[in-house]
Symmetry: C2
Subunit: 367 residues, 2 copies
Amino acid sequence: MMARFERFLSAGLILGTIASAPIAIAGAAGEPALLQEARQVLAPLPHDFGTPEFPVTAERADLGRKLFFDPRFSSDGTASCSRCHLPGLYGTDGLAKPHGNHDKLNPRNAPTILNAALQFKAHWRGDRENVEDQAKQSLLGAASFGNPDFATAMARIKAVPGYLPLFQKAFPGEADPVTPENWGKAIGAYERTLATPSRFDDFLNDKTGNGKAGALTAAEERGLRKFIDTGCATCHSGPGIGGGSFQKFGITADYWTETGSDAHDQGRADITHDPKDAYIFKVPSLRNVAMTAPYFHDGSVRTLPEAVRIMAKLELGATLSDEDAGDIAAFLGCLTGSVPANFAEAPILPPGAFTQDAPNTVEPSKR
Amino acid sequence: MMARFERFLSAGLILGTIASAPIAIAGAAGEPALLQEARQVLAPLPHDFGTPEFPVTAERADLGRKLFFDPRFSSDGTASCSRCHLPGLYGTDGLAKPHGNHDKLNPRNAPTILNAALQFKAHWRGDRENVEDQAKQSLLGAASFGNPDFATAMARIKAVPGYLPLFQKAFPGEADPVTPENWGKAIGAYERTLATPSRFDDFLNDKTGNGKAGALTAAEERGLRKFIDTGCATCHSGPGIGGGSFQKFGITADYWTETGSDAHDQGRADITHDPKDAYIFKVPSLRNVAMTAPYFHDGSVRTLPEAVRIMAKLELGATLSDEDAGDIAAFLGCLTGSVPANFAEAPILPPGAFTQDAPNTVEPSKR
């Protein structure tokens, strides 16, 4: 236990707060059972990710679900949230970097939307405060929705008549509820429902204190032990198994050398303009990671054991055997939950044609 | 009845076969009831669209459903069948013309995939024989999937390890089942399950002989009467309410003048190189038409009453009042069925990263 914690300290550079589950070593007497040790750094998922500021209401989540899947509010009518966050690929798109409106390439890999609302910031560089902020700003993102301004985006929504009543229900009492803020709140409320508990939560939640029998396979238990002892859990901690802090990618060696990546992404330094933030990224959640290849902010690595091996080397200075990397990858497989039904099933959208150019809310004159 | 049939004859130019429900006037004695008259030209949907040549097996349809939703087999990893045939928009994309791989613009509007297998040909110009042929050829379509050749497309499939067992199950006994033909057969089998019976089928299937009470509203019954009497049902006939013949768009006037369309699409003449086929297109099915704006092969019209008015004028020389166009549009609304559950719900896809360039089935060497 101490060995792991020292490694945590020497890894240094923990810039954010480790989410939810502070590391408590005081109570550990001797070598604790795997479950007890896991509970010190890892935590089960909550039922949803609503907060007092951003509550999950049925009306908001239902509206947000429709907006999430609707491509008609982008500059070319093809970019929806679901374009890069596909249900069938566990909320990712299988690409190294996603293509947004008009085939514009996004600079970084599309992370899964599942459990995304759990994270302490959104986007790889943490330049979005939460899922609401992320959804709102994506309306104008040059490589995402590409609207020239919020007014154009809202006019596109208003041009589909079925949406106004849904905004009115979700945001009662507001004179003009079709706003960029409410777009963000509705999609955020929907995303705050997308929790994917897995067999690992069964293991953590076990009442016997020994882990639910059969919840994990022997290889997964071996992998969990190695995940903790290698030091992975120092950053990939809490209910998200990550998503709670920033960290430098490449503490003990350069990531672009190791991954063959052809770009040196400055990461958070581009946001803060502080050279000390070079190569700093948000630590991603590892929930469902077995289903979300390719890996890393640049999507440069195709397989999970390879990603595990590289992370151990670059972040912890550890050289994993193929067996160790395989066991840890096996453990990560038990973080795969079920795709929520309200994500797998596409909502039926209010009908209406995409508004190609200027807002068109008026019936064309008889031509 | 005779007035309608004369109009059918004078409209002329029926080049294909009217699907399934031949017009029988011999048995009509006096003014028939609306149901009886409707049954002479329109027909209920079958349960599925399997044939002895193209059977629907569970294994093929399940595989085809996955392939339909998977974007990783296109040149840029973004184009799947579902990119332009979204469940939430009833198997269309809301666009005048769809954008395929690398934002390439397709020349014609994306028709719904629902009930598409019922049609006598595929594509607006009928240059695809059936849904199997359409799916196969889309792999190479410059503006759809954009693969340089079938070998590249098949290599992309084989690079996702989870697919081979599914092809083996769907096409047992074949040494190398991952072929373009089987891609087409699997997606075709899936599409042959996508039937959307509606309240209109309840009306047609009624055993009492008077139409199921309450199946249609008064406005819908008025619209059906006008749909038949105006002559719409001469081409929009059979179980698809269309989809069974070719017809000229613009018999009594030029479509591009009436619709404001900026291109003169030569239609089927580009396929046959016969000037007599100029402006000839497949008559589309009107199933679910209320949910699939915008309209026509060029997506030039945004609303259904406007589309009805234009069709009556250009095809039948009839000038409809707003009330008549509204009633016929109301009738068309009763052709809206439920989106099938196996289309609304996205299948979970075998995991794996998109193969960006050359086929990559080999684990990258330790880097």
